[in-house]
Amino acid sequence: MVMNKKPLRSMSPLQETIYRFSQNKVSLIGLAVVLLLIFIIIFGEFISPFENGVKQNIRMRLQGPSAEHWFGTDAYGRDIFTRVLHGTKYTMMIAFPATFIAEVIGIILGACAAFYSRWFDNILMRVLDVFQAIPGQLLALAVVAALGGSLFNLVIAMLIARIPASVRTARSIMLSLVGQEYIDAARSYGSRDYHLIFRHVIPNSLGAMIVSMTINLSAITLQVSSMSYIGLGVSPPTPEWGALLSEAREFIITAPHLIIFPGIAILLTALSFNLVGDGLRDALDPRLRD
């Protein structure tokens, strides 16, 4: 018999997804980077104490990479490696919750809008129109300007800026699913509405929603960085990646390593999340198997 088919059949859906994900080498690399980031968030202090990243040493300012300072030092002689390392935590503490909450709210509101009465859909869409009339970046700026630039407020700002788009994405995906015959079929054998939504509509939308989530995650990472870059993100001594870029801009010619290392960190993070997202989508969709 076919060798690889038998074990697949006896697997639970979760085991099967893990198995399929593990077959995808590129996504595994992405996952490795994501795990590394998580490791850094938890054990950063042991790799290089936070103290090294805030301790100023004017004599050592603007040094290039060396054995002592792997990524060099900044204008105050602070170790860039330590600052990038600890920046992971701040950037992720904003990007993770903001993305996740925006996506969950998007899925719930989108499903309701697609599934329930027209007037709810209409009201929701018009409210979102109002939010979307203002550019997301500007909206986030306004929120931070009004509330002040703490980590928590940044999450709120990102949410307000991102929710309209994620609701819209979810709604349009689910609207196309609600019209599918298998939804009618499930209803015709007696499914309840929540069952239709949670067992048929949402699982079928997950492939697309996960992709939208990874795109959002990298977009929010970049947006948080750009907020810090213009000085409205976290306050100065905090080594958030965008803030690092912002501080580095004066020395872009004389000390390019200041901008290169945080830039690489942002790029790698965004890229690895996208890779993981792609791999997850493929692993979750049985149609893409074999």
Partner: protein, 335 residues
């Protein structure tokens, strides 16, 4: 059997409209028919005649964003289904008593659920005897074998099955709760001819074994002759002719539309160079013609047809809604 005289389903004067932003689509306009236990009714008509809408209305699964049942009675086992509260509809009727076999097996199955789980799902919703998970699995295996699929295939996803097998799964989902009425919505349209015959034979066999009544929606008159006890011909949301198979195929009266349908079929015994399709198209359902809906296409159209909606002319079990017959207004059919 004395139960044969029991009426299972009685649809009276059913009207369904679809409301779009600016226009109203009159999809079903006063459909009435009766179905006895164990009987098969063929619902025949071209695309857009309102056959599927009628079926969805019986199950009350019309899209609630647009569709409205404006008038009518759907009496099922003595209850008007249009008055039954939604949760009772879900528990007691859908899947439990009435099941639909959908037109397109490619899209009627959830692509990311194993087919066995989809069959089990229908069973779990109507789990009266609180079956244990093992018993549910057993029942799923049994139903799959009933429709001629090995039980090992229940772990497959829909895309791993062929079209004919998918249709069998769709049928298994309909049958698993042993409903008393099956609505088969063009069950073989999406299948190729060899599989069609198999699937039809299987449906018929199962129906006979379980004593289930069936509404068979189709536009294939050959299938109707083979499977049905009674036939209703629909045109533009109305039943224009209804009767037993004999009435329709060889009765004295024949609606010009029915005649047109037969004229579009090739005949094995006669040699003809070309078929005779009905000229023209179905009227726009947002703007139906006055009088008889068929009058713009009717080869035997009279003045009265353009103004007066024809009533049924009854002859035994055979009813025809055409001015050519009855009340002396029209001429008799002359060969």
């Amino acid at each position: 059997m004395d139960t044969l005289n029991n009426t299972l389903l009685k649809v009276e004067n059913l009207h369904v409209v679809y409301k779009a932003r600016r226009e109203t689509v009159y999809a079903v306009n006063g459909v009435s028919f009766c179905l006895k236990k164990g009987e098969t009714l063929g619902l025949v008509g071209e695309t857009g005649a309102g056959k599927t809408t009628t079926a969805y209305a019986i199950m009350r699964v019309l899209p609630d964003r647009t569709a409205r049942i404006v008038n009518g009675i759907i009496e099922f086992e003595g209850y008007n289904l249009l008055d039954v509260p939604e949760n009772l509809m879900r528990h007691g009727i859908r899947g439990e008593k009435i099941a639909i076999i959908f037109q397109d097996p490619m899209s009627a199955l959830n692509p990311i659920m194993k087919v066995g789980d989809q069959i089990a799902e229908a069973l779990k919703f109507h789990n009266k005897e609180d079956l244990s998970p093992e018993r549910i699995e057993e029942q799923v295996d049994r139903t799959l074998e009933l429709v001629g699929i090995q039980k090992e295939r229940k772990y497959d996803f829909p895309h791993q099955l062929s079209g004919g097998m998918k249709q069998r799964v769709v049928i298994a989902i309909a049958l698993v709760c042993e409903p008393v009425l099956i609505i088969a919505d063009e069950p073989t349209t999406a299948l190729d001819v060899t599989i069609q015959a198999q699937v039809l034979a299987m449906i018929d066999e199962l129906r006979e074994k379980l004593g289930t009544a069936m509404i068979l929606i189709t536009h294939d008159l050959g299938i109707v002759a083979q499977m049905c006890d009674n036939v209703a011909i629909m045109y533009a949301g109305e039943i224009i002719e209804i009767g037993s198979v004999e009435d329709i195929y060889s009765g004295k009266m024949q609606h010009p539309y029915t005649a047109g349908l037969f004229g579009s079929l090739p005949d094995l015994e006669k040699k003809t160079d070309r078929l005779h399709p009905i000229e023209g198209l179905m009227p726009d359902p947002t703007d139906l013609p006055k009088g008889c809906k068929f009058n713009p296409r009717c080869p035997r159209c009279m003045d009265i047809c353009r103004n007066v909606q024809p009533e049924f002319t009854v002859e035994g079990t055979h009813k025809v809604a055409c001015h050519l017959y009855g009340s002396g207004k029209g001429r008799g059919i002359d060969e």
